[in-house]
Symmetry: C2
Subunit: 286 residues, 2 copies
């Protein structure tokens, strides 16, 4: 698929490309950002690994690129960073723009099965297949054999579930304040009810990190998770990382760092950005 370049912005020695393409899985034009670190220009034959950042509710691909500070370490380590959007846009489905936590900006990284959302709310297919294929087809400097994933909040849910559903596809996973057990929280129940309907046990469990990790049979896990102790959404019970930790027992390492006084914002991510890129780098550059 062809890609349109809307802007090329210098950032930390590399280039942040503002791109878009017509995506068949989501049935609309999708904007995304791709950071190419300096190593891709100094040596055109050098291939760099790819780290995918999945953003949270209400975000686009711009928030992480502007406020996450991920390019800082990605530049140093030589890692490309992909910043996708969080949902299809402008499908003209009734109600798609009515809530911050459902529809536009809230695709939850699932393939909706319930009408009318199944007409384009296919963010699982888009992120696991169509978008990376588009990137690898158009940017030969990016190595399709080395991909890691991380994300924030709804995107932390996305990162954990995509990692757990596809053993071996991603070299590593980490998350900031992930919605770790969506079947048990208000945001997740609304989204899963809307995108899948109420057949809870089957479809919901297939996209719930806490359910998925119970069945994990891959290599021992090494998951980095940061949660701020002043995160209001944690306090509201939207994140439930404890459930994930309990469910992951015996499956490897789940390092939940409780960050004193930190909230749910991009200020938290900027602060610990180097750690998360570094976590990915240990696997991507191994």
């Amino acid at each position: 698929m062809s890609v349109q370049t809307k802007a090329t912005i210098a950032s930390f020695g590399g280039k942040l490309l503002k791109l878009s393409h017509n995506a068949s899985s989501t049935n609309c034009e999708m904007a995304f950002n791709l950071y190419l670190p300096p190593q891709t220009t100094t040596n055109p034959l050098h291939k760099v690994p790819l780290l995918i950042y999945l953003a949270g509710l209400t975000c686009t691909g711009d928030n992480g690129a502007e406020k996450g500070f991920f390019q800082h370490a990605a530049s140093e380590k030589g890692i490309a960073v992909l910043y996708p959007d969080t949902s299809p846009r402008g499908l003209k489905i009734q109600g798609e723009d009515d809530s911050f936590d459902f529809g536009s900006g809230a695709g939850f990284y699932v393939d909706a099965t319930k009408s009318p959302w199944n007409k384009g709310y296919k963010m699982y297919s888009y992120i696991t297949s169509e978008l990376p294929k588009t990137v690898f087809d158009n940017f030969k400097q990016v190595d399709p054999e080395r991909i890691s994933i991380f994300g924030h909040s709804m995107g932390g849910h996305g990162a954990l579930t995509l990692f757990l559903k596809n053993p071996g596809k991603y070299k590593s996973v980490s998350a900031f304040a992930p919605i770790a057990n969506p079947s048990k929280c208000q945001w997740g129940r609304k989204a899963f009810g809307g995108y899948f309907g109420d057949d809870e046990k089957a479809k919901w469990a297939e996209h719930d990190a806490t359910e998925l990790v119970k069945k994990w049979a891959g290599e021992p896990l090494d998951v980095l998770i940061d949660v701020g102790t002043s995160d209001n959404f944690y306090k509201q019970g939207q994140l439930l990382p404890e459930n994930f930790v309990e469910a992951a027992e015996g499956k490897g390492k789940v390092n939940v760092r409780w960050q004193d006084g930190y909230d749910h914002s991009y200020f938290t991510m900027a602060t610990f950005a180097d750690d998360h890129v570094g976590h990915a780098a240990r696997y991507l550059l191994a």
Copy 2:
């Protein structure tokens, strides 16, 4: 003057305080942000120096705090960062919200003399006097004896002029893409004409870095300036750093770094943020 705390946000080990106060110089409530590095909490008796960041056209105190990544180095060095707004707000002067380059968001760090703008467009007094006094009165961890200043675009103009008009007040100055000779560019001529009227030689020259530096009689200068070679506003002749460099001949060091491919955005500032905070740190922590 008393200060209202609207939010306290953890950032790079310190605290970003979102504050406001009723300012008499600008005749309205002014929002600002103050970053207190971790050194202020680990040792309450330890005083940290202050670095003032002046933002550009259309900005508030939030842009630098969210996208400049100045906290990254400020945290490490132990420097407080002050992020003021760029103009008074809501004075209900006719036309104040009509342009991006005049009125709201475009105070140009001058004290307007022309009616009706002289009713509150007193950003020079606000930044050099009222705001720092408010900070030092309310935050005893910040040392009033050690202040540096830097800024971007209109704020780069502000940083250079405030530094040059007040020998010894600021320990150092640096700028990203400053409007370095406002009397000679469209933005500056519109602003100075509006705030001062057309008495060019007197008032305009008093707030033009290129004119001011000619008369500099203080310590030899050490000014760091970054300008991107892909900065469209540079290409339009809004910045004119060459004029400043020429005028500063014999006054010390003016290090203009032409950053290849970089533009006028916060991505440029984030990339070189550590260098500018480091430049200030060499003087503030000397």
